[in-house]
Each structure stands twice: as C-alpha cells, then as structure tokens.
Symmetry: C2
Subunit: 456 residues, 2 copies
C-alpha cells in the first residue's frame, strides 16, 4: 500500500470540536423549539432512487444531483456503442440511486408511502445533510445541512403564526436580536399583477423588483420596460415601491389598491388574520415586516411567503419558507397542502460568528482537568474524577505521567476553565487545589466544595 497525503473532496468540510460545539448549540436550540411546538423528527436515507429525485428540481437540479454507481459489475448492461451515445444513454444503465438534494422531496415521498399510518395534520421537522454538485465557492458547499419544519394536512393559518413564533423564539435563544422576518402572500403578488393590468406576470414582475435594493427604482423601471410591461403598469407600481408605513398602514393601503382583485384581497385577508392570531397569542409584531414585494418560490408557494434577514452582516438571508398547495402530486397523492420553512444552519453559523454571538461557556467543553505530580496523585485523582462525574461535571484526569506545565498546556488548548492540582498536602488532607484559569485565582477546597464551586 503506497503512502498518500490525504485530502478532502472539494466543497466538503470536516467539523472539528469547536465547530461541532457551536453547530450543536444552534441545532439543539432549533430542535428544542420545534419540539416545544409539537413537531416530530423524521430522518430519511441519504440515498434515494433516481426515479424519486429526477425531474423535481428542474434541468439544472438534475445536473447537480450526485449519482451513485450501481454496485458490482456496473457495466453489465453497457455496450461500447452506448459510450458513443453519451451520458444520456449510459447514465440510466450505470446508476439507479442518487444522494438527497433537499429535504422536501424525501418528505413528500415519506408522506405518500406512509399516508395510512400518519396522523394528519402532520408536523414534522428534519435536520440532515444534503448534497449538490454545485461549483464550490465561499459559503457554498457540496454537502450542507438543511433544517426544515413543515405542517401538512391543514389550511389553518395558525401554522403561519407558529412559523413566526418559532423563528422569534429560536433567534431569541440564539441571541440574534437585529433581524427582520419579512412576510408576504403569493396571492397579493398575483393581485398586484392583476391590478396593474399584467395579469399572470407576477413572476417576471418580481424578478425585476427583486433588484430594487441593488440597482434602484430607475433601473428596475428600465428592466420592466424591456420586459414589455406597459408604461401605465409601471407607473401604477410607484406607490407600492414607495410604501414605507408599518404593517398596519401597508395593509390599509392595499385594501384600496387591490380592491378590484379578488385573489389579492384574499391574500390581504390571510395576512391580516395571521397578524390577528399573533395578537391573540399575546405576542407583538416586533421583527415581523410585511414586505409587499417579497417574492420567493413562485413556482410552488401559493399563500404566505417568509424570508428572514439578519441586519448588518455580510450574508443576511438565513431562513425562508411558505405555504404550498400540492406537496405530493408528483407521487400521485393530490390535495396535500401545507406550510414549511427552513433554517439555513451554515448561514446562521456565519452570522453568529460575525456578530460574536457564540457563548464562551457551556459549549460542550470539559469543565475540569485534574493534574498531579506522581503516582500517588494519579490514584487520588481517580477518586476525585469519580466524584466529579457522579455530580454530572464533565471532567478528565490527565492520562500520562507528564510535567505539570504540559498538563496545564493541555487544559489551555482544550479551553478547559478549571484545573485541579493534587500535591502531597492536598492528598494528605483529602482536599484539592482549584485554579480558575480565567481569573488566575487559586483556592484549596474539599471535594464537596470543589463540586459546589464548579458545578453551577
């Protein structure tokens, strides 16, 4: 066996101890929130049949699926001529499975396969990696986690309410305070296109308006003109672009503006009801911003649309979702509607890192390292170790016979906050010396005193 310098496939990452502790802090906070709201966890396999995955993500998505070579003699159905036929001819003969591309299609497959066992409304969350053969670049990986929550089998707007509440709770627990949950409704966008006389063109309209922040209203108008929107239509958009009032003011304005569009008014009604539910729940509208031109997933969202942006960071969009009418139609089960959203775990990690929000304490670190000078100290240390662990305090005894300085270096590098030192006096008196590495303070304690001191 030749010796090789190992490397990682491009676009993939290892997560070492510190990163894992931080990722777990994020994921545990989100999981706890999902559970508090009655969501239950689902896990699906990394591999799905290509028949399940193909055609669900558009042509580009099909290209980006990682395909798994059939095991054994994968060439058994391939002739030399097939190679001349290219990838389209050979692929179906050599690969039947692919890696999960998102969590929505596996969820839809699960719902269809288990429709008779599932209790509807079905509230599920799922936190698993997905894989995409995208060109890797900063912040974009070939393997990354998705973290989705969906409720299917109900049209109740309490689901929309709960999405707002879960985002607010999770962010509060994570310590993210400067953010906004942008909300809109697909029906409002449909209504918008209707009342400016461009019925059915809300998709194109939104593509152009989406650039407002970047290129300004002048340029957006130019683009709309190029896309053959009428001058009159563009002029009618002006008050929408200028809409600066709060949620209530915007709703009031739109009740007049959209009054000729039945679907638009339905969208307004839905959004208003979500705000009313928020009030009944006893929660205010802080962080919740009605954004009349927010457009996401127009090919599948039919009601509410959400996007969460953290302010004053480089990549602020960290979460999104919406209501859909037809999750499982492609698998032959019609009428499964629902609402879902997704936390971007990698993005939230970057945001928290940038804002310095990771707590220094309580991040899965060993709390106490026990150090000693000789065999006698080691043996006494085992006893102290046992007591600490029985009290639920994460602790270690330095394993090797080493200079005390080396033992302290270990504590320092592992960011262990407390070091116990066991010398002859401590052993003789059945006590310990405790050094707090942050303050430098050292004190002599009984074992019970030690547990009380570091246990809080």
């Amino acid at each position: 066996m030749s010796i090789q310098k190992p490397s990682l496939p491009k676009g993939t990452r290892d997560f070492g101890p510190i990163q894992m502790a931080r990722r777990n802090f994020i994921l545990d906070t989100i999981k706890e929130t999902f559970k508090l709201f009655g969501f239950q966890q689902l896990e699906t396999p990394a591999m799905e049949n290509l028949s399940t995955l193909t055609g669900k993500y558009g042509d580009e998505g099909d290209q980006l699926l990682f395909k798994i070579l059939n095991s054994g003699d994968f060439l058994k159905n391939v002739s030399p001529q097939d190679v001349q036929g290219g990838v389209a001819t050979v692929l179906p003969k050599v690969a039947e499975k692919g890696l999960r591309y998102d969590l929505t299609v596996p969820f839809a497959r699960y719902v269809v396969m288990n429709r008779n066992e599932i209790t509807f409304p079905f509230k599920r969350f799922q936190i698993q990696p997905v894989w995409r053969a995208d060109r890797p670049q900063k912040g974009r990986y070939r393997e990354f986690y998705q973290c989705d929550a969906d409720v299917v089998g109900t049209d109740s707007l309490i689901c929309e309410l709960e999405i707002l509440l879960m985002i607010k709770r999770a962010f509060a627990k994570l310590g993210i305070t400067d953010y906004s949950i942008k909300v809109n409704n697909r029906k409002i966008l449909t209504g918008l296109a209707e009342v400016i006389g461009e019925k059915g063109r809300e998709g194109e309209l939104c593509v152009a308006i989406d650039k407002l922040d970047k290129i300004g209203w002048e340029k957006v108008q130019e683009e709309l003109t190029q896309r053959n929107f009428t001058e009159n239509a563009i002029a009618q958009l002006s008050p929408i672009i200028d809409l600066k009032e709060g949620n209530k003011g915007k709703l009031e304005f739109l009740k007049t503006y959209l009054s000729s569009s039945e679907i638009g008014m339905k969208g307004i009604g839905e959004l208003e009801e979500v705000f009313e539910l928020l009030a009944s729940y006893g929660e205010n509208q802080e962080h919740v911003d009605f954004d009349v031109v927010l457009a996401r997933g127009l090919s599948y969202y039919t009601g509410a649309i959400f996007e969460v942006k953290v302010n004053n960071v480089s990549i602020g969009s960290v979460s999104g979702g919406g209501r859909y009418d037809n999750l499982t139609g492609v698998f032959g089960l019609e009428g499964v509607s629902g609402v879902g959203f997704s936390f971007g775990v990698d993005r939230i990690y970057d945001v928290m890192d940038e804002l310095g929000l990771f707590p220094e304490r309580n991040l899965d670190k060993t709390k106490v390292l026990i150090t000693y000078f000789d065999q006698q100290g080691f043996t006494y240390g085992l006893k102290v170790l046992h007591k600490l662990r029985e009290a639920g305090i994460s602790s270690e005894l330095y394993p090797d016979d080493a200079k005390i300085k080396k033992q302290f270096t270990y504590a320092d590098k592992k960011q262990i906050p407390f070091v116990v030192i066991l010398g002859d006096t401590e052993i003789a008196e059945e006590k310990v010396s405790l050094k707090d590495l942050q303050t430098g303070k050292q004190e002599i304690l009984t074992i019970e005193g030690l547990i009380e001191r570091v246990g809080k």
Copy 2:
C-alpha cells in the same frame, strides 16, 4: 411528468417520529456520557476521495464501497474500448469519490490533516451514518449509524478504564442491566499461541476457538487438528477452555500458565492494571468479564480487546473495541496509537425493543393538546398555548375547526398524554378542563394550576 409510486432503495430505511424519539434517547444518552468523560465531537463529510477509502478494508471492503459518479460528463475520459476492459478500467475514469464506509478511516484522515492543530491526547467521538453495498438482510442495512469514541496519542491504561466506565454508565442510563463486557488482551492471545508451541498462529487458533459456544470443544479440537495444530498444543489448551473462575482466578492461573511468554505476561500485567485502576476509581468489576479466548480485530488490535454482550436477547453483541498501535500509518503519519470502541446503535435499539426498555414517558412527545368547540375557544386557546410554551411545556392547539372527537383522536394517535378542553364555562372563568388520557381523570384548573400539574 409521469406519476410514479415512490419506493426506498433496498437496504435503506426511513425513521418516523416514534423511531426517531427512541433513537434520540439512545444517542443522547451515549453523547452525554462521552461529554462527561471529556470526549469532543467530530463530523466528517459523507463523501471521501476514493484514494482515501480504497485499500483500507480489504478486497471485500473495496467491493462494498458505494462509488459516486463524477458530475458533469462522466464519460469524457472513457472510450468504447474501455468498456471491454471492464470495471477495473472504467471505474477510475468515472468515479473519484465514495461514501464513508466506517468512521475510523475518516478519523485517521482528519488526524493526519490536522495534526498540527490537534491537542493530544485527542479524545473524539463521532456519530454518523456509514454506507456499505452489502446484501441487505434482517438486521443488516446499507445505511446505518456508527457511534465511535477513540483516544489517540497516549498509551495510558486509563483510556481502557474509561471505556469500561462509559459502557457501564451508558447502559445504566439506558436501563440495560443484564449484560457483560468481555475483556481480553491481544498480547495474551499471542502468549497463548507461544506457550502451546504454535507461535504466531493466534489468529487461526482464535477462529477455531470462537466456535466453542456453537459447536463444543470436541469439534473445535477436530478443526484445530485439520489446521495442523499439534496434538500436544491442543492438549495444552484444555485448561484454558475449562477456565471458569472469576477474573482474579483467571489472572492467577495465567500468571503461571503464560510465565514462559514475555509478551503474554505483559498482556496479563496490562489487564491487571486496568482492574486496579477500576478499584482506585471506586468502581466494582460487576459486568466486567475477562474472557481469555475473546478475539476481535486481530489484524489491528495490539492491546486490550472489548466486546459487550447483552444476555437473553437474539442478537446480543452490541459494542466492541480495542487498542491499536498505528491508526494513521497508511496516510504517512507513524506512531499514532490509541484505543477506541463503538456502540452499535441499531443493535442497541433492537435489544431495548426486545426487552421493552424504551420509557413510555419523555420520548419527545407533545405533552398537551388544547381542544375547543368554537372560535371563542380557539382564541382563548391561543392564550393558554402561549403560557404553556413559556413554561417550557411542549404543546399544541388543534389547528382546524373540527368535532371534539376528531381532536381527541389526534391526541390519541400522537400519544399526547394530556388534553385541555375549553368550553364556555372554562372561558368565562378563565380556567381549563384537563383530561389525563391515561387515567381518564378530568379536573378543572386555573392556567397556573395546569402548568404545575403537567409541568413536572
């Protein structure tokens, strides 16, 4: 898009809410134990370069690796003639990556790539799925979780001690009581072959002896004869086979029996020291059984060998591990020794299921469902819901306008233990009716009383 009946790739599984809650109970218990002992979590990517994976698991392992087709035009380097060359010719041209086959090789790769940043001794745990293109059968899957803990960079026998302690703690927390941790030492097996005059043949010896429980000593002797072990060697084995005394008695016997083998005596010394450390820690030898003929991983273990068997269940072997000398030599880094072990999560799940050990309570279930008769009840329910969640009690408000019976069916199917009922009286008095679905008992409470009643 044609409509298709979806299915799962063979050998893979979905984990629905109940299974996930149970799996999380197992994994959380193990994780908590690892952390208490100062182990830190690592995650590596699902995909590794084939150069990292190939040649590490023997020829059979190479066959069982799932390979990932290169993205884009995977045929660009393949000629029609290559197809005639078969899999060996085509594979290197169409696949550069494979799926993780175990957690040890990725760990070794991580250690080598990060040797300058890692603080040694490095205590890491890793809980992730692995993939093997094995023929699926009962209890054997193509995707399954491994759950490993290793310490590298120290020879201290405290690591062996901690493995025993972690297994004992995790099993106690899981409620598994009837099991034994079989321990042995590779050096004892080497010594055994030496003293019977068959030096270097401990591998063959163990393959035969391993069948003792199934086929009996007579048949094992026949097999040893067929394998050309001398009559004298076989006769000398007899007292080993008959060894029935406790750990102490076995050690005493072997000190005489192996006295002519230096390495054998070293093994005895190591094992004896582990037992002494256990005593110094203040823990007894319950569940710890020295098994002189326990043999596992003879191609890599050089010191301690562990195997955990649960008694009175169909598949009892649920965990194993040992000490190795050379984790990373294949990647060009010599001298990284350590000790590790692995919990078989699927096996532990099956054992706990068979023994009925999963706790009914506290398994990630919603605790309270709020039911109501009309819009007024729904609105009041939102307020109650808010209070419950603020108190950290997982709760739901039935989302749709439905008959109370349907709401109760939902609670029943989701195994929600408490149902709150909000009728006109309750609303008028700002109270709630609480029904305990297990006892059938119903009572009227204030909201604060409700929180106190269900919150414990």
